[in-house]
């Protein structure tokens, strides 16, 4: 008889041994999905288009040393794809998971033009997975070394992946609690009519209230779905909603792998024992998933436990705090984007810009108009024109470029118009400021023009 229910943050509850099948199954699905994603990237010719063709790459602050490697970039993707397969198979898992995390992260750091929230999510999950016992069940490692096969693992290991997903959804939901999303139905009011030629439901998008319904439904979905997935009574219905929601978004918007990543990742919320029951049925049919049946419990090495616990606590504290960092900078977040990335702000803005740069020789006064396509790909130009850190990096690139061509003191000026969520475009940076002399930092960029409107909310 159970006398007390342990508190969900108690050591006892977190360390309780639970069937590890859901984490192992997650490993397989996640690894295969990354492999598929790499393959898709390769086959679409994006490696060449995004990492070999460009003459210039936008680096993350502090990661300027991460560079594409010319033709060897293909090798990097091959390493990433192959390690994802090893990861999925649970074959030399520790090595595979480290190689996968490092290669995937390196790819993401090469050019921030290609930043997507779901790539960031994959990076974070891969970081967690390096430390977790995801290979002690349904893996080649467990088959090869029977003593390493364990059916049970500490609850917190599965829980940490669930928590990561919960953070993604909850913060994505909180970010939707703003006046543009809820009161103006922006940007869905612009995006949905564009899809009114869809079969069956397309006609709905001609009505403004559809955009409102979708906006509010999306906010409620994001805010509640993690809790509904955690609760065993609502889990199955919640998972149905996950599938419906993400399939819908994949039909409506060009968001690539994201819907599938979420549909497959949320399988982690299913109970390990339930996964075992399903597997045992499939196993009779296929016999491919070598589920462990012993009752051995995975334990972390003694000297390893404390540092690991500290690291995970710090990791999640950082995850909880980072999305709020915009509170410390002035200016409208959607306009300045200071603190916009790494915060699970997904599909919140229709933002577009038009940037015209002029390089001026300070000594002769001669001006040269820049054709951005001489230096940037279409995609880089598009991302650059709406984000100040890109604008500054590009301005510095132009300065260095013209210095090398013999202009002793090049000054760089930009005329940039940006529209945000249907508002009339306005000047984005001060046309009179020489961007060659400005420096990037995490402080507010005083050379930016003000938004001159308000978006209320989180």
């Amino acid at each position: 008889m159970k006398l007390t229910t342990p508190h969900i943050l108690s050591k006892q509850y977190l360390q309780e041994a639970v069937p590890g099948a859901s984490l192992a199954f997650f490993r397989i699905v996640f690894g295969l999905m990354i492999f598929g994603g790499i393959l898709r990237f390769w086959l679409k010719g994006w490696i060449d288009q995004l990492y070999i063709q460009p003459k210039f790459f936008f680096h993350y602050y502090g990661f300027e040393w991460v560079q594409p490697m010319g033709q060897y970039t293909y090798l990097l993707f091959a390493v990433c794809g192959i390690s994802a397969l090893f990861f999925a198979l649970g074959w030399f898992y520790r090595v595979a998971s480290v190689v996968l995390f490092l290669s995937f992260t390196y790819i993401e750091l090469m050019d921030k033009t290609n930043y997507l929230n779901h790539y960031y999510f994959v990076t974070l999950v891969l970081f967690l997975m390096m430390w977790l016992p995801a290979h002690v069940n349904m893996s080649i490692d467990a088959l090869r070394d029977k003593s390493s096969a364990k059916r049970l693992i500490p609850r917190w290991t599965v829980g940490s992946i669930r928590l990561m997903l919960g953070i993604v959804y909850l913060y994505a939901g909180l970010a939707k609690l703003n006046s543009d999303w809820l009161l103006q139905a922006m940007p869905l009011k612009l995006w949905l009519p564009a899809r009114n030629d869809m079969p069956v439901i397309g006609w709905l998008f001609n009505y403004e209230w559809t955009a409102y319904a979708f906006s509010w439904f999306g906010a409620v979905y994001d805010l509640t779905i993690a809790f509904l997935l955690l609760n065993s009574r609502t889990r199955l219905y919640a998972y149905g909603a996950v599938i419906a929601f993400h399939v819908m978004t994949s039909l409506l918007f060009p968001i690539g792998m994201f819907p599938y990543i979420m549909i497959l990742s949320t399988l982690i919320f299913f109970d390990g024992a339930a996964i075992e029951r399903v597997i045992s049925k499939i196993k009779r049919l296929l016999g491919v998933l070598p589920a462990v049946v012993n009752n051995n419990v995975y334990t972390f090495r003694a000297g390893f436990r404390k540092p690991l616990a500290v690291m995970f606590v710090v990791f999640f504290l950082v995850q909880a705090i980072v999305p709020w960092r915009h509170a410390f900078t002035k200016g409208e977040l959607f306009w300045t984007e200071e603190g916009y990335r790494f915060s699970w702000r997904v599909m919140l803005m229709e933002k577009m810009g038009y940037a015209q740069f002029v390089v001026k020789d300070k000594i002769t006064g001669k001006e040269i108009g820049i054709n951005n396509n001489d230096y940037l790909t279409k995609n880089q130009e598009k991302m650059m024109a709406t984000q100040p850190d890109f604008i500054l990096q590009y301005a510095h690139f132009l300065r260095d470029q013209f210095k090398a061509q013999g202009i002793a003191e090049p000054e760089v000026y930009a005329t940039i118009y940006v529209t945000l969520n249907g508002r009339r475009s306005r000047l984005y940076v001060d046309e009179t400021r020489d961007l060659a002399k400005e420096y990037d930092s995490f402080k507010h960029k005083s050379w930016m023009k003000d938004f001159q409107d308000d978006i209320y909310g989180l």
């Binding site: 994006w46 030629d197 319904a213 819908m248 279409k378 508002r423 009339r424």
Partner: protein
């Protein structure tokens, strides 16, 4: 039930209790209607008239080269001018069949290279399909050949009647006219086979008709109208004027008429007017109005764009003298026209494109 089911339920509930809201604005969201209007009422008659003008030009060129004299030169110059003015209403249609053959490259790349034209004439053998010959043909090359080869009409006639190269000159003139006529006729007939696919492609992806039409329209306005006709000759970017870059360089009196005709065509096309300007159909302006984005004063962006275009047209029309002369001798006035033209660029390229849910990019990549 899921999202789709939920949405459907709300839809049923809404239509059941709210029938009065049916004021027809949704028709303007109908991209098929918009595409049909452009294809049937603008593109088709535009190429029809362009081909007719080219045929006249060809006849006059044939008559002139058969026996060059001043009256026939005058007739040729007039039909060239007429066709060139018509081209200003066609050049903005560089999507679909016109884009497939890079029509503009063969018809109106200026400045013409006098060296290439003279070399081609001298050698008597040339391939006008070659990319390297794009600035040795089209209206600008004809301008050189029939307006720029002599100070007086008599001089020009004698250019074709005297010297060892006279035959080569006549042949080259005819080759250029024939090439233009063939290209334009080819695009016209290709449109007949393309129209259905064009109208049916109602999406908003990079390959959709709306995206192609708007992208080519904005590109045309920015690069070939604003920069080509005014910006480059006045040196808005370079800082110093280059009168030699003016369109119709050998007929300075015509440049402004060409620019005004182009600007009016841009305005008319935005509105969704029929080619002859008599009917107003569903155009970009109506689609933008249906989306309903507004500026900070609450004015519809669709009206803002129209007003800015009208201002630019007025400014352009108000320019005194020829563009070729004004870029040097009345530079501030031309720069102010340029600024007016420039004001429209962000409105088209950013505000309109963003509201349409399309993008100015040909890189097909994920977003989030």
């Amino acid at each position: 039930m899921g999202l789709a089911g939920m949405a459907l339920l709300i839809a049923v509930a809404f239509t059941a209790c709210n029938k009065k809201d049916d004021n027809g604005t949704t028709d303007n969201f109908d991209r098929k209607a918009l595409l049909t209007n452009y294809a049937d009422n603008y593109v088709t008659p535009a190429y029809q008239e362009m081909v007719a003008k080219m045929n006249t030009l060809k006849q006059d060129a044939a008559a002139f080269t058969a026996a060059p004299d001043e009256p026939k030169l005058l007739a040729l110059q007039n039909s060239w001018k007429d066709a060139y003015l018509t081209w200003q209403k066609v050049e903005l249609l560089e999507f679909g069949p016109a884009e497939n053959v890079s029509l503009r490259m063969y018809i109106n790349i200026y400045p013409v290279s006098e060296t290439k034209v003279n070399n081609n004439i001298a050698s008597g053998s040339y391939d006008l399909d070659a990319f390297g010959n794009k600035d040795a043909q089209g209206f600008p090359a004809l301008d050189l050949l029939i307006n720029g080869t002599g100070a007086t009409a008599a001089d020009i006639v004698s250019y074709y009647n005297t010297g060892s190269l006279a035959t080569n000159r006549k042949n080259y003139l005819m080759a250029v006219v024939n090439k233009m006529t063939d290209m334009i006729t080819g695009v016209q007939s290709a449109w007949a086979g393309y129209k259905d696919a064009f109208v049916e492609s109602t999406g908003v992806s990079a390959n959709s008709s709306l995206s192609q039409l708007v992208n080519s329209y904005v590109l045309y306005y920015e690069r070939y109208l604003r920069s080509g006709k005014i910006g480059l000759p006045v040196g808005a970017m370079a800082g110093t004027p280059s009168p030699g870059l003016t369109e119709a360089n050998y007929s300075p009196a015509l440049s402004k008429d060409l620019a005004v005709a182009a600007m009016k065509a841009v305005r008319q096309f935005y509105e969704g007017m029929s080619y002859d300007g008599t009917n107003n159909g569903v155009g970009m302006r109506d689609y933008l109005a249906a989306i309903g984005t507004k500026d900070e004063q609450g004015k519809l962006m669709s009206d803002v764009v129209a007003a800015e275009m009208d201002e630019a047209t007025t400014a352009l029309e108000g320019l005194n003298g020829t563009i070729k002369d004004a870029v040097t001798n009345n530079r501030p006035a031309v720069l102010s026209v340029y600024d007016q033209l420039q004001n429209v660029v962000p409105l088209l390229k950013v505000d309109m494109v963003s509201a349409f849910g399309i993008s100015i990019t040909y890189v097909d990549n994920d977003g989030d």
